[in-house]
Symmetry: C2
DNA sequence: TACCTATATAGGAGCACACCTATACAGGAC
DNA sequence: GTCCTGTATAGGTGTGCTCCTATATAGGTA
């Protein structure tokens, strides 16, 4: 369901090809959503056949035609319906915690190694998120200034969410390391 | 993949029926993993056909026979292999953040409502996790004392992880509410 | 010359999972 | 007497996703 929504949401900001969408996802929502390229094309085809998006073919020379996808009024309706639908608590699936839950049988050194790897990953993630956040916050040219509208604040808030959780993960790692003695 | 591991990990602690596994998952790993009952039975059948678990039929009167699943040496091997395999950074899928990312077009009141719902969910989750943690920590009868071994500490650590993240989420919600002015 | 990257598309195969449904009996609640 | 809960099993159907592969051309790098 949600990849459809992600695509509709991005297409609502600007019309795009599947290729553009892939890059746009990597640049903007990668910290809370990921998408396989082939899945994007498939889902895009479903959106079109459901009347939620329309294709405009833009010929190019030396390259495949751009198949630019535009959101339709029906697509905007579907997006808004989803945004207004009740927020279900999500069913968690955390492979790292499952590993930790069962890794005890392998002994203390293996456990420490697992926690170390996790710390490296969390540190790298935090640095990446802080890098993006700084760019977002950096002062802009006066004539280039994007409006500090609700949407922009909310997009920044999703970044802050990732940062706070990465910090919490690192704090937990310190605590857990100590608890192992 | 990971449900197989969850089942093997739990069966490594004690042999169980599918029904027992469902309850065990709800009682112990629900804060980071969820499993559908029909999926448990299907996955259990795969484990048996792969030689990772064996069934012992225990007849009962008035109830269906217990089909008790025991982990085999091959199953223990597969579990350990997975535990030792490299920890891949997970690809995130957070439907709430996606909602927040796009909800700006609906306006400030809808945004506030979304954040309020999220706060209620996070508060409930935190209370539930703290409840479980207290039970785990509560002093036991001297002759009933479970060994405070590595496994037990790690299982407690996964709970602490959930608690710290729930707290981080609430802190983020306060910050975000203020940022909306 | 040969490879690598960027642009742009999309199918094949298969996994893991969720939602819904069905079967069967015991014991307690109302 | 009927309904609900607990114990115990399992299939049907469909979704959403990943991994791998294929096609085609331009331009830069070794």
């Amino acid at each position: 369901m949600s990849l459809k929504i992600a695509l509709l949401g991005i297409l609502d900001l600007a019309p795009m090809t599947g290729y553009d969408l892939k890059k746009s996802i990597e640049a903007s929502v990668a910290h809370f959503w990921s998408a396989d390229q082939s899945q994007i094309y498939r889902t895009l085809a479903v959106l079109v056949s459901d009347g939620l998006a329309e294709v405009e073919v833009v010929p190019q020379q030396g390259r495949p035609d751009r198949r630019e996808h535009h959101i339709t009024p029906a697509g905007r309706g579907a997006l808004n319906d989803w945004l207004r639908s009740p927020l279900e608590p999500e069913t968690p699936h955390d492979a790292f915690l499952m590993r930790l839950f069962f890794v005890g049988t392998l002994g203390v050194p293996a456990t420490r190694a697992l926690l170390r790897t996790r710390r490296n990953q969390a540190t790298a993630l935090l640095a990446a998120l802080r890098g993006v956040a700084e760019q977002e916050q950096s002062p802009r040219e006066p004539d280039d200034r994007a409006p500090d509208d609700l949407g922009r604040r909310l997009r920044f808030a999703t970044l802050r969410n990732g940062i706070l959780h990465a910090e919490a993960e690192l704090a937990w790692l310190v605590e857990t390391k100590e608890a192992l003695g």
